[in-house]
Amino acid sequence: MSDSAINTNSSKNENIRRIWKVAGILALITAAEFAFAFAWPDTWSRMPLNVWFIILTLAKAFYIVAEFMHLKHEVKTLILSIVLPMAFVVWLIVALLAEGSAIIDAVKNFWG
């Protein structure tokens, strides 16, 4: 519990500094997303860019949930009871997108 974003034991200034640090990281990641969106060359495939966007988004999500929502500093059982169901849902999203696109292709190409 010692490295908590909001910890009653640490000093006021230290807590506030940590909050602004996380805010700075979030702003930097968003700025990076912009830079990539504009700088990506026209002729390159967008696929790696989109993967990179998703990675950056998950990084932002981690900082918001872990620090702002304080989940990183909760009891392990609480962390798991939030993160595990969400991990299954992420898998559900991936599975439904993959299976769904296969079904759409099959229906579209039904008559050849």
Partner: protein
């Protein structure tokens, strides 16, 4: 009968202690947010599948033009649709306005944590100040969203001339200047559902702000209610981070 109420060391789930070291209210907020995340995940899946059903734009990004042939209504590049900024009529500024909205919401999340931090120190004046900034940030975001919606609904000057010669500007639930009507439907539904969450968040924040001002939590001895609405507010910010990526960037 002291023995019957003493806590068994064998199983912490038998009562008498809080195994998750969090209050009932906070836990319920967490599980509500988890179930809300399921709903947004369902919207994300719908978006992915509907987009997959439509043809994609094939050419170079810099030469992008909107689809005007109803036999090939390809999906638009979102940043080409949302390229307007207030007071800069007709200037092509992709992503700039939605980027500003993202910053506003992240910033209001920061002021919310600062409010929660002040609550831990029982500093009523500081909680009031940061809650008020959070509410202002929320209203600013909603105002931006209203502008974005009205611009999307009224459309750009270029409009769209279909191959049959009919002309249409803007978007509604059945017609869309920028491409497939379902693109407009998904825009209205996803940003609308998120906007409703922001609006409820602002209302909750105002109620809690009122309680802070009249000293309810000072008398109660803790500011846990601020933490609970804080969790909700951060979740709204979190959802926007995903909407920004999957609706505007990808």
């Amino acid at each position: 009968m002291a023995s019957t109420i003493s806590v068994s060391n064998k199983n912490i789930w038998n009562g008498g202690v809080s195994p998750l070291k969090a209050s009932y209210g906070k836990l319920m907020m967490w599980f509500f947010l988890l179930s809300d995340a399921f709903t947004f995940s369902a919207l994300l899946i719908s978006y992915g599948m509907i987009r997959y059903m439509h043809p994609a734009y094939e050419g170079n990004y810099s030469e992008f033009t909107f689809a005007n042939d109803s036999s090939n209504l390809y999906w638009p590049i979102p940043e080409m649709v949302f390229d307007a900024f207030p007071f800069f009529h007709g200037v092509h500024l992709p992503l700039l306005f939605v980027g500003l909205m993202t910053f506003i919401l992240i910033l209001s999340s920061v002021t919310m944590v600062l409010g929660v931090e002040a609550g831990h120190r029982m500093d009523q004046k500081a909680v009031e100040k940061w809650m008020l900034w959070t509410i202002i940030g929320g209203f600013t975001f909603l105002g931006c969203q209203a502008w974005e919606w009205s611009h999307f609904i009224s459309g750009s000057d270029a409009g769209l001339t279909y191959v049959d010669g009919s002309f249409f500007q803007g978007a509604n639930l059945t017609q869309n200047q920028y491409g497939p009507p379902l693109f407009a439907d998904l825009f209205f539904f996803i940003t609308g559902f998120h906007g409703t969450h922001v609006f409820s968040g602002v209302i909750l924040n105002i109620i809690i702000f009122y309680n802070v001002v009249v000293g309810t939590y000072q008398r109660r001895g803790h500011y846990e209610m601020v933490e609970k609405v804080g969790l909700y507010w951060h979740f709204v910010d979190l959802v926007w981070v995903f909407v920004f990526t999957f609706f505007y960037l990808v």
